[in-house]
């Protein structure tokens, strides 16, 4: 890899590791210091490697520099503390400086513990995702702003508030106790799920960035499987879900970055390796007493890896949505269930149920209505699409609805 590509790549992977280890050592109140030392390390790498060429082992080089910078900081910090406290004790000796442990094991533990801290229930979900992107994934403020379709100032403020909250709540970077781990793990998984969805469903046109979000969410979820306390069936279920969804990532985008809907996708472009990975995790998830929403959603996503439009497939999907909704309501699940119902029992039955959904403010509800009216009442189908167009926000959504309107509009009579 050329230097120009190597540094950004190393930045992503190593910045987060160095920050996690240092932050764990210093405590959350000094996360700014941890981030500064990590950034300084990369600045030094940029300068030195530019002049002298790449070192033999760039990662080891980074760790050595980061350790030295951290030790230096601690030396000055000790002097600083003594000055402030007016203490006249003996000077700090080298032995007072703790060892900076950048071993694979400690990096791994620190990152996992950091994940639990960032996904603490005291932090609002949106800020959790932002913090996860910054601290756990090494994304720049600008990238996060692009991902959220927001601006740098807003994101910087949001992250600052979240960090302040972590400090004021005195959230420790540690594993929750055994009795607590299940609840806290649910929180972590929900954040990772939202992070994945941010990449998968966002209307952002930056495909590379979106794919990065998905891959990072998968990487962090995978970290959880490498620790015995968090290696649980529900984690495997989420990884299965992410793998099945990600398998369609390339097929759902054309060369211009426009969405291709499921029915129009070229199934030969689905990533078979990811589908297989999904199957493996789904098999591993099938243990323990609890069926989570991730289990059900992974099974639905698995159903969609088979493009055949058979009644059996749709009946399975309908049953899974029934169970999912009985477990936890969401508007998307209600809409998707009704679509599955139309595939099993016909559009008329589904239309009757759709009209009871009370989701009139969602543009996708009117897209569904249009689908169900098509064939029996094309005028109503067209009217529903126009309502959908009116309610849709993102240009990508509007474009797809406009295409549907065009397809439904009868050609002008000569």
């Amino acid at each position: 890899m050329e230097k120009n590509q190597l540094i950004p790549h190393l930045f992503r992977t190593e910045y987060t590791k160095i920050t996690a280890v240092l932050c764990k050592l210093f405590g959350f109140e000094h996360i700014g210091v941890a981030e500064d030392i990590a950034s300084d390390t990369f600045l030094a790498a940029h300068e030195t490697w530019g002049l002298k060429g790449l070192p033999e082992n760039p990662t080891a080089w980074l760790y050595t520099v980061a350790k030295n910078k951290a030790k230096n900081y601690l030396r000055h910090e000790a002097v600083f503390r003594q000055k402030v406290a007016g203490e006249l004790k003996r000077g700090t000796t080298e032995t007072d400086i703790p060892e900076i442990d950048l071993s694979a094991q400690n990096i791994h533990d620190s990152q996992l513990q950091m994940m639990f801290a960032v996904c603490h229930p005291a932090i609002v979900a949106e800020a959790q995702i932002g913090l996860a992107l910054r601290i756990l994934c090494g994304f720049g403020i600008e990238e996060i702003a692009t991902a959220f379709l927001s601006n740098k100032e807003t994101i910087a403020k949001r992250l600052q508030r979240a960090k302040d909250k972590l400090r004021s709540e005195q959230i420790k970077i540690e594993f929750p106790g055994k009795p607590e781990i299940s609840n806290r793990l649910d929180n972590v998984l929900t954040t990772l799920y939202l992070l994945f969805n941010e990449g998968y469903y966002s209307s952002n046109h930056n495909t590379t960035l979106r794919k990065d979000l998905c891959l990072e969410a998968m990487r962090l979820t995978f970290l959880l499987t490498e620790n015995e306390n968090t290696n649980q069936p529900v984690v495997h279920a989420l990884l299965a879900l992410m793998s099945f969804q990600a398998s369609r990532f390339d097929a759902r985008m054309d060369d211009a970055g426009e969405m291709i809907l499921y029915n129009d996708q070229d199934a030969s472009r689905w990533d078979q390796a990811l589908i297989q990975q999904g199957k493996d995790f789904l098999a591993r998830s099938a243990s323990g007493p609890k069926i989570s929403r991730f289990h059900l959603e992974a099974c639905i996503a698995y159903g969609h890896t088979n493009k055949a439009d058979t009644p059996e497939k749709w009946n399975n999907i309908l049953q899974l949505y029934n169970h999912l909704l009985a477990l936890e309501y969401s508007p998307m699940a209600a809409l998707n269930r009704t679509y599955a119902l139309s595939k099993v029992k016909g559009k008329q039955v589904a239309l009757e149920e759709a009209l009871k959904l009370n989701l009139g403010t969602h543009h996708l509800y009117h897209v569904l209505l249009s689908e169900l009216y098509t064939g029996s009442d094309d005028a109503q189908a067209l009217a529903s699409l126009k309502t959908a167009l009116h309610l849709a926000h993102s240009p990508a959504d509007k474009k797809i609805i406009e295409q549907k309107i065009q397809a439904l509009t009868p050609p002008a009579q000569p």
Binding site: N315, L318, Q319, Y321, N322, H323, L325, A326, Y329, A333, A334, R337, T338, L341, E353, K356, L357, N358
Partner: protein, 133 residues
């Protein structure tokens, strides 16, 4: 707080209370002997019908808890008195399960009970509003 302000506040609270949905218990009763005659395939089809019906209520965000089915056997205790074996009412009226739903009114709850697969077995749904403790 002034009296008009208090009154306004009270009105808002009343309105909020009205808007809050009420919880209802659905109690399913049916003739055990009809249900016991079903083949395994029929049992499976029946389970799907139940889940389709429950899914329809859940899709409207009106399900609190899908509830459970009940085994037909059980006992009735009346304090110190004799514990009797079930069935406890006529066979036709065996308690088979329950669900919790939410609705704006009893009428709406009754409307939601339409389409319940228990009717196909000649059974009934008893709809009772929950009186919170």
């Amino acid at each position: 707080m002034s009296i008009p302000a208090m009154l306004a506040c009270y009105t808002v609270l009343q309105q909020l209370k009205l808007k809050t949905m009420k919880d209802f218990l659905f109690v399913y009763r049916a003739d055990r002997s009809v249900i016991a005659q079903r083949s395994p395939e029929e049992v499976q089809i029946n389970t799907q019908k139940w889940m389709d019906w429950i899914g329809s209520i859940a899709a409207q965000n009106k399900l609190v808890d899908a509830g459970n089915r009940l085994y037909p056997t059980g006992k009735v205790s009346r304090g110190n008195q004799v514990v009797t074996d079930g069935p406890f009412t006529e066979l036709k009226e065996t308690l088979g399960g329950y669900s919790l739903i939410k609705a704006d009114s009893l009428d709406e709850a009754v409307a939601l009970s339409q389409g319940c697969p228990i009717y196909e077995a000649g059974g009934s749904v008893e709809i009772r509003e929950i009186h919170a403790m």
